[in-house]
């Protein structure tokens, strides 16, 4: 049995406005109905795989459990990093965690924001790598390049992998940093170079041995963070104290570039890290070079991506060439396709001026569900609130606002001071300023409620929490 270890801590901003710090790209359905994270979990299901171990950040834990549930996936556990520390500490924490139950367990480490359309072919490649990993090798998967890409690192082999044959492990000669265009073209022509996708197969004991040999300083603090971990609502929350002492470093720098027992297994199917909108265009364009998603209309466009995300906005392109345009309810990006790497800089500029669109969405995900502001006036605000079956908001009160709640779907159990009552579709409740109140969804279906706030101050921070099942302040 192989345990997939899904690295799910990224906060990629190069796919802004769809990907934001508060809800990064792995959780978005960029291609198809599943999110990239869900697709990454589903890709590694089968008789040869155990339930995945997910490593993610504090702020994403409820999104992870919600998306795994929606995809019908179990997880063996969800490790929460108090802070992102790059890939080496995350992989080490996963290895030490697995070692506690089975030191000889087999781990497949994979990012959760890549696209690999042919899951069966990928699983077959993993199977082909298994003997080498069982023999103690650290196996890395190399993607056969189909273009002279300058945005990836490369893996150099001794010889060109034999075409057509079943993929078999070959020794790695060297890691190659991101090349310039000429070097990339030369490597593509030579055929001995594969893209470094950051996907690995090894035994727990093999990778721990490599850490002991090449990055021994990481082991004590990571082990301490695991030893001090708390179980919390189904998550394993690493101890923030020792974790803060862990040096951030990538697995390539910490271990792989120093180890002498690496093998490379080539993968020749399609793969993309969807690292920018140009990659998304590449993966989704039709024969005429046009990639459309959502309600769009392209008139006489070439080499162009038009996406309308989540807002139902109609996006119309006329006479465009080499343009990407992505529309969301609160932000629209239009960029020349050769400049999509600069989206990161645009997000930094927005952040510097305090624009909320830089990092957050109008739709705010919480452990109990989500809410979004529908309209904000001078002394009023209207929100749509969706509560998961069985979930509950905290018992709370506000100093500066009253609230009207109208249930428009499902049934709510509402507490207002001493009174508790069921409120169902087309019924309303009034929460006076200062009243202690709570809403819960006791039903089996999502409950949707429209909240109309009135008052002199309507900020999210006007909240006094008395009880909270999710242990927030």
């Amino acid at each position: 049995m192989i345990t997939p270890v899904l690295l799910c801590g990224g906060s990629g901003t190069r796919l802004w406005p769809l990907s934001r710090k508060s809800y990064p790209k792995q959780f978005s359905a960029l291609m198809g109905a599943q999110s990239l994270f869900q697709a990454s979990a589903l890709r590694l299901e089968g008789p040869e795989f155990a339930a995945p171990l997910v490593i993610t950040g504090e702020e994403f834990r409820f999104i992870v459990s919600e998306q795994l549930g929606a995809a019908g996936c179990a997880s063996s556990d969800v490790l929460i990093e108090p802070k992102g520390r790059d890939t080496a500490p995350a992989i080490l924490a996963a290895a030490l965690h697995l070692a506690a139950t089975d030191p000889e367990a087999m781990m497949l480490v994979a990012p959760s924001d890549h696209v690999i359309p042919d899951a069966a072919a990928f699983r077959a490649t993993v199977a082909a790598a298994l003997p080498a990993a069982e023999a103690g090798r650290l196996v890395t998967f190399g993607i056969a390049p189909d273009r002279a890409e300058t945005g990836y690192g490369y893996l150099e082999l001794d010889a060109v992998p034999s075409a057509g044959a079943a993929p078999s492990p070959a020794p790695l000669r060297a890691f190659v940093e991101k090349p310039d265009a000429a070097r990339a073209a030369a490597m593509l022509a030579e055929g001995r170079y594969l893209w470094n996708a950051g996907i690995f197969l090894f035994k727990v004991s093999s990778i721990l041995e490599a850490f002991r040999a090449h990055a021994p300083d990481l082991i004590a603090p990571v082990q301490a963070a695991l030893d001090g971990a708390k179980r919390d609502l189904g998550f394993t929350r690493l101890d923030a104290g020792p974790w803060a002492r862990v040096q951030p470093i990538s697995i390539d720098y910490a271990v792989m570039e120093k180890a002498d027992n690496l093998s490379v297994v080539p993968y020749s199917g399609r793969w993309s890290d969807l690292g920018d909108w140009a990659s998304v265009w590449r993966e989704t364009a039709d024969d005429t070079g046009v990639a459309l998603s959502g309600p769009t209309l392209a008139i006489d466009c070439t080499n162009t991506l038009l996406r309308s995300e989540a807002g139902g906005q109609r996006v119309v392109g006329i006479g465009l060439d080499d343009i990407v345009a992505v529309a969301m309810p609160d932000a629209v990006l239009i960029a020349h396709k050769s400049r999509t790497q600069e989206v990161k800089a645009a997000v930094a500029a927005l952040k510097a001026e305090g624009a909320p669109q830089a990092e957050t969405f109008p739709r705010d995900h919480r452990p109990w569900g989500w809410f979004e502001s529908l309209v904000i006036g001078e002394r009023f605000q209207v929100k749509r609130i969706v509560v998961h079956p069985g979930a509950a908001l905290s018992l709370q009160s506000h100093h500066h606002r009253s609230e009207h709640w109208i249930v428009v779907q499902g049934t709510a159990r509402v507490t207002v001071d001493e009174e508790v009552k069921l409120v169902t579709e087309n019924q309303s409740v009034y929460i006076p300023l200062g009243a202690k109140h709570r809403m819960e969804n006791p039903g089996k279906l999502p409950m949707v409620l429209i909240e109309v706030q009135t008052g002199s101050y309507l900020g999210e921070d006007d909240i006094l929490r008395y009880e909270d099942v999710y242990a927030r302040n």
Copy 2:
């Protein structure tokens, strides 16, 4: 005294998505705080001008009166065309209407969707034209061209107008249809050609004489439409029966191209008909060729227009050249700047597939104020409703929905069946399915109300009207 006659019937779609059939561009604040219509009215205020006569369509009458009121303009009257019939019948109706009180009245006919930034210079030009108009000439204003434009018709003079001198009327040699690029360049070089802006100054008696001479068939049905006109809530509504028999034709074709008493007064200030987004770009671009409006961010853009309209969406452009992008809450246009004439075709395509964005806005203007849908769910809808002071919605009922009303600003007088009560900020009312109800704003300030509808069918056509002060069905 000169009576401005403002033609306000257009339904330009070339500035979609900002301009739509339900709310065309003259009513939008495309440049500055006033709408183009408001600016057109304000431009012709002063001791030499009477209050304007406005000619508009049935569906725009309340927008006209609302915008005139907001700009602090009186109108002498608002003529309502039951259907658009092009400029000649509209101008004839205005002339006959004015003739009833003063056959020698002086009319300045102007479209209400043009931009003329220097109002004082324009008024001085009108003053310079006055003697010729008083002598019985039909005066047309010609714009001194600053580029070889192929999108306008031209007015040919006998000689180059003297530079620097006060504008003086010159006889017109000929009308020139929209030229090709070579001809436009030649005309620009020669200097005897001015753009035909469709702005005229003449006495009522002069233009009526010209109609009698050159388009006599128009007179009887237009006079009959005026004779049968009804006064309705401060509007003069032309009689639809005879108006339907009026032939649609432009003033140039019907009269001007045939008349021999035309004079041209050159205007050398800036002028634009804002006929497409490229013109809007031209009128608003800074020194680097970038035109921004609303919350935007342009990184390394040239010759580019970025506009965020009405939705607070952040529009970010990266590395764009010769692109126009206009974002609204329900639609986004991105076009190559050389292709903005094709917006019309895009709107036609959207209309053909029944997309609401083709012709209407989420914000729906009514005689009593406006409303917009904030969210539409499967069995619910949330609206923001704004009611003008003193205004009232019709007394109505619905077969398929109940409504919750929460007043968030001002005070409403609410009727529910036999009960009438005042509802003020932070109070709510429930309207059961089938109940006869009405809301009014008895106050002095706008009243804002959040309406939450629930039911099996939520279309606007589920309405039974019992009484309506605006005479709708």
